[in-house]
């Protein structure tokens, strides 16, 4: 069992988190372009407003909203390539939450997830690897990130799949009614020829429950990855109906979290305070110790 102190002290290789940042950044760039168009459409007079509060203040002026979406794209590009990663990540996260805050119609689970993950990757310093920042720093030692920050990203994946599964345990979903309304009509017919929706619905819940926990175990991790990729690809194909783009973005965001789990296969780098100081000596500074193999 990993102790709290170990979780707070240990550092892990930054590579997987660097790749995860690129995947998430790509999703943010693509989503930013579409969001800029949505923000523009929202300024049309014939669109209903659903502010979070009854105050008109909650709806920003047009120019302000357009600026937010433009800065989103710029910061997302910087975040993706790892240029000023911490600053661009912090601003990108703020931009995403500002857009969500414009109107309730802008909320979507994948946007909320994207904003949260950008913030978590910024805190985790995901720009330490596979980035312009890393190239510019020219550090000789292998880049590492705090283990607790990487763990929070992994827990985020569990939270999403777990609650997605739990909330589907209701009569409406298990009866197949939700799938019937969400599936592309042509696909619905094909799917029903293969399997009744009353069987597919519990299978979807089981898959999400499996994915919530399977990434945590070495034995199931490599099975979970293709299952997850297949699950999200199927969602895109079956539930298309104009939502294929958003479901693809969601798949990319989920993929970015999956990649972080593969950090655990790598060497764990532990920050060790050398307490065994010679009597009367000043003691040695903190050292990095490489530990090979699975930990925790």
């Amino acid at each position: 069992m990993l102790r709290i102190n170990e979780l707070l002290e240990q550092r892990v290789p930054a590579g997987p988190l660097g790749i995860a940042r690129i995947v998430l950044g790509l999703a943010a760039v693509l989503k930013g372009v579409v969001t800029a168009a949505s923000v523009n459409a929202y300024q049309n007079e014939n669109v209903l407003r659903f502010p979070y509060t009854s105050l008109e203040l909650s709806t920003p002026a047009g120019t302000f909203a357009t600026a937010i979406s433009l800065f989103w794209i710029i910061f997302a590009l910087f975040f993706m390539v790892g240029f000023g990663s911490r600053v661009s990540g912090a601003f990108l996260s703020v931009m995403i939450f500002l857009v969500i805050g414009i109107d309730q119609q802008f909320y979507s689970n994948h946007l909320y997830l994207m904003g949260t993950l950008v913030a978590l990757m910024t805190i985790a310093d995901a720009g330490r690897s596979y980035s312009i920042d890393a190239r510019r720093s020219g550090a000789n030692e292998p880049a590492t990130v705090p283990r607790w920050a990487a763990t929070l990203i992994m827990l985020q994946l569990t939270s999403v799949y777990l609650f997605a599964a739990l909330t589907k345990v209701n009569e409406g979903f298990l009866s197949g009614a939700v799938m019937e309304s969400a599936f592309e009509p042509s696909m619905l017919e094909r799917v029903e020829r293969l399997m009744p929706l009353t069987a597919l619905a519990p299978l979807a819940v089981t898959t999400e429950l499996f994915l919530a926990f399977a990434f945590w175990h070495q034995r199931t991790r490599f099975m979970a990855l293709p299952v997850a990729l297949g699950f999200h690809a199927l969602n895109v194909v079956i539930m298309g109906r104009g939502g294929a783009f958003n479901l693809s973005i969601f798949a990319l965001v989920m993929l970015s979290m999956m990649l972080v789990f593969f950090t655990r296969e790598s060497a764990t780098v532990q920050s060790v305070q050398k307490d065994e100081r010679p009597a009367g000596g000043a003691g040695r500074p903190t050292e990095l110790v490489m530990q090979h193999g699975e930990s925790g």
Partner: protein, 112 residues
Amino acid sequence: MTLRRKLVIGVIATVLSLQFVIPSVQYFSDGANRWGWQMYSRVSLQPEIIAVTADGDRREVDLSRYVFHMRSELRVDAEMLDQLCAMLPDANSFELIHHEDATETEMFQCSG
């Protein structure tokens, strides 16, 4: 405990609350809710909206023409119907038909 350690613990506690406490609260709330990863989990309970003109003509309102994303968490309430009254000046009132356990009808009068 150093200030940095306290900050880290604060960040962890906040993130864990967002990840597990808020979705748990939302899970037990009625209907579709935000911040809880409730994707494609419930049948949409949005009411059917019928615009009724001064001379009694009735026509169904295609809400998709007036919103750019009608999510299941959005509630059709008085504030939203007031806006719809302004957008459809020939509508005198709206009839909301709820198809839940049983079909129920509700009337909303435009104030203009």
